[in-house]
Symmetry: C2
Subunit: 398 residues, 2 copies
C-alpha cells in the first residue's frame, strides 16, 4: 500500500495531506485530481482527459494498486468504502466521526482488514470481520493464524469465518447490513479489504510490457519495456530472490526502494534494485505477525520440494518469564536451503523474521541457520534461540 | 558467563541449583565441591586433591572463567564479592536479605556491573558504580554509552566516573567503604565486576596448548591439542568470523554451542562449530544494548581500515511515535564490507544487531545492507529502516 491507512484513522492525516503542498513549495508541478487518459510514446506526451498534454523526457509510472471489489449489489450505498487512497481514508475518518460510528463491518480478513480492526479499536469502534476462510491472514500457517484469531476475539472483534458477502443493503438496527451465506451483519460503515490488484491498465494501453503477475514488467533499473519509461511501486513487478521470479508484491518499503532506484537512473547515477525476499509484517493488537520468503504453495510453484515445521518457544529465557512465539520454517528438502519463515508472538516475531530475511538473502541453509551467532541475553531470548531450535529440528527431518 | 547472575538475584536460584541433582537422577556421576589437582594424560586419569583418580576415555575441560580481582587491601572483608559462580550468587543473595541491604557498591561499569545494578534495583537496592573510564560499557561507542549513563542516572544509580578503587575498609555510615582516587563510597556489600579471565591453568599445567588469548586452544570440533581432550565454554577460544582469529569471548550462547559440538564429536557424530561474529546484548532498565562484530580498535588490530558512523533513528515509523535508537556501523573502507555494529535503544536494538549479525556471517557489504529486505510495518520501523539509512550513509563516505 502506498500509505498506511491505519495512520489516517489514527489522526496522522495532516502530515500526509501536506505532501503535495510541500512539493509545490519545492517548485515541482504537482497536479492532484488530474486523470491521465493515455500516453503517446511516439510524441513523448502524457494525455490528460481535458485534451491537455504534458511532454516528458522520462516518464515514471507510479499508478499503484486498486482495492479489489467483488461484484455485489449495494456497493453504491453511502458509507461503503474500499481502501484505496488518501481521499478514501480521509472520507472514512470523517464519516466515522459524523455518524458517531459504533460498529464497522469489514469484508476481508487479510492483513489490511486486520490492521483496520486495530485502528478502529483504538478509536473505540467495534468491528465485525467477514472472511472467506476459517482463519484470518491466510498467508500464515493455520496454527499461527489461530493465534491471531484468539487475539481478535480477545479484543472483542467478531470474526465470521467461511462466509461470503452476497449483498449490502440498508440495515434495521444500524444503517447498513451485509448479507452473507452465514447470516447478516449490521454496522455504521462497511469496508472492503479483499485484496489489491496492480493498476497497470494505463501502462498496458500505452503498449508497455505487462508481466505474468498482471503488473508492469521492469528490469533491475526499474525501466519498463520502453527505455525512457520507468515504473515503481504497487503497479510494477519486483524480483523475488527466493523463487527467482518476477512478482507483484505491493508493500511500502519495496515501493520506496524502487522509487529511489528509478530516480537515480533518470538522474544519471545508475543503481539497481536487485530484489526482495518477501519480508512483511503487521501488528495485531499485542501481537507481532511477520513473514518472509515463500509459503509452501509458492515454493512448490517455484519447483522446490518444501518441508516445514512449526516451533513454539519463548522470546525470552525461561527464567525471565514466558512470551510465547510461534515460528514456522520452510526449507527445500533436497538442499536444506531456507525458503521461508513465518512468526507470530507478543514480541520478538519481527526480530526473528528480519534475521531470517537476511539469511534468505544470503542463501543460507538450515545447518548454517541452526548455528547463527545471535545477540543472546536472557531478557531477549534463550541461549538457543527459537531460530536455532527450529532450524535444527527441521534439518533433522530432511 | 556460565549462568546469568541477575537471574539468581531475581529468585531463580532453585531452578539452577537443581541441575546437579537432576543429572544424578539420570545416572550421571556429578561431583560438586570437588577440586581437580591435575591431569595425567599418559595414564588417562583426572587427579583429585584427595589422591583419588578418575579414569577417562575422553575428557572435557569446562573450567569457565574467573572474575578478575585487582590487588587491593580489604578484599578479605566479609560481604566483598566477586561474581564468579553459583555459590557466590546464592551467598550474595542471602547476605543482601540478611543484612536488609539498602546500598551496594559495584566496582566496574562493564556490562556485568550494569546488569547487577538492574537486578539490585529490581530488588529495591540502590547501587553506586565505580568505573575506571568516563562512561559505562567501554565496548560501545561513547555516544551510545552516554545514553546508557543517562539511563543509569534516571534510575537513581550513582556513577563515579574515571575512578580507581584503592582499598576496601570498614565504613562509617554503612558496613563497608570503598576508597577511590575520587572519594569514598559506602555500602552494605561490595561487588567486583571488573572482567573475567579464562580458567586455563589446569589445562596449561597438563600441557594442553594455550592460545594467544590465554584460553585453551581448540579446533572446530572443540578438540584441544590432545586428541581425546575437548574444551568448551569460557575457558577456551572460539573462531571470530570477522577478524578470522581465535579469541576468547566468554558468552553463554557460545558455550552452549561448543558444548553441543564437543558432545556430538565424543559421541561419534561429527559436528563443527565454525565460529561466531561477537553478537552480544544486555538490558539496562528500559534500554536494549547490543553489539556484533569488531570494534574499531579490534578492526585495526585485524588489519582492516575501519570507517564508522552513528545514525540516530526511530524503532517505529515517525507517524507511530518516536522510540529513539542509535546505531553505529563500522565497515572496511577498502572493501565496504561490514565489520561491526552497535545499537542502543528503548526497543529494536537487539533486532537490528541480530539482523546485522547474519549480514556479518554472510560477509555482506554496505551496498547489500543498505537495501536489505526487512519486514516493514509502521509499528516496528520506518520504510527505510535505520539499518538502511546507516549503511547507505556510511557507504557514501568510503
Amino acid at each position: 500500500m502506498p500509505y498506511y491507512i491505519g495512520d489516517v484513522i489514527k489522526d496522522q492525516t495532516r502530515l500526509i495531506a501536506r505532501t503535495p503542498e510541500k512539493f509545490r513549495e519545492g517548485g515541482i508541478d504537482v497536479r492532484t485530481r488530474t486523470r491521465v487518459s493515455g500516453i503517446d510514446m511516439a510524441r513523448g506526451v502524457v494525455e490528460l482527459q481535458e485534451n491537455q498534454n504534458i511532454p516528458y523526457d522520462f516518464l515514471v509510472m507510479a499508478t499503484g494498486a486498486s482495492a479489489f471489489v467483488p461484484d455485489m449489489p449495494g456497493l453504491d450505498l453511502p458509507d461503503v468504502f474500499a481502501l484505496r487512497n488518501l481521499e478514501d481514508a480521509i472520507l472514512i475518518k470523517t464519516r466515522l466521526k459524523e455518524k458517531n460510528a459504533k460498529h464497522v463491518v469489514i469484508i476481508g480478513g487479510g492483513f489490511i482488514g486486520l490492521e483496520m480492526c486495530e485502528a478502529l479499536h483504538a478509536a473505540g469502534i467495534a468491528a465485525t470481520i467477514i472472511h472467506k476462510d476459517g482463519l484470518p491472514a491466510n498467508r500464515w500457517d493455520a496454527a499461527l493464524s489461530a493465534v491471531m484469531l484468539e487475539e481478535l476475539l480477545a479484543h472483542g472483534v467478531e470474526f465470521v469465518a467461511n462466509a461470503t458477502a452476497q449483498s449490502i443493503e440498508t440495515g434495521k438496527d444500524a444503517p447498513l447490513r451485509v448479507k452473507t451465506d452465514r447470516g447478516d451483519y449490521e454496522g455504521d460503515l462497511v469496508m472492503l479489504a479483499i485484496g489489491v490488484r496492480p493498476d497497470s491498465q494505463l501502462a498496458k494501453a500505452a503498449g508497455l510490457k505487462i508481466g505474468a503477475s498482471g503488473a508492469v514488467a521492469v528490469n533491475f533499473a526499474q525501466q519498463t519495456s520502453i527505455e525512457n519509461i520507468y515504473a515503481v511501486g504497487d503497479c510494477c513487478e519486483s524480483f523475488h530472490k527466493v523463487s527467482r521470479r518476477w512478482v507483484n508484491l505491493p508493500l511500502g518499503d519495496i515501493a520506496n526502494k524502487q522509487g529511489r532506484v528509478a530516480g537515480r537512473n533518470i538522474g544519471g547515477r545508475p543503481l539497481t534494485f536487485d530484489g526482495m525476499v518477501g519480508a512483511q509484517s503487521f501488528r495485531l493488537f499485542n501481537l507481532e505477525c511477520a513473514a518472509c520468503g515463500l509459503s509452501e504453495k509458492e515454493a512448490v510453484a517455484a519447483g522446490f520440494s518444501p518441508a516445514s515445521n512449526i516451533t513454539w518457544g519463548s522470546a525470552m529465557a525461561p527464567s525471565m518469564g514466558i512470551k510465547k512465539i510461534g515460528l514456522k520454517l520452510t526449507a527445500d528438502s533436497s538442499s536444506g536451503g531456507l525458503l521461508g519463515a513465518q512468526a507470530v508472538g507478543v514480541s520478538g516475531a519481527v526480530d526473528r523474521i528480519n534475521t531470517l530475511s537476511v539469511a534468505l538473502a544470503a542463501g543460507m541453509n538450515l545447518d548454517q541457520i541452526g548455528w547463527l551467532d545471535l545477540a543472546y541475553a536472557p531478557p531477549f531470548g534463550p541461549a538457543w534461540d527459537i531460530i536455532h531450535n527450529a532450524a535444527q529440528a527441521l534439518g533433522r527431518t530432511l
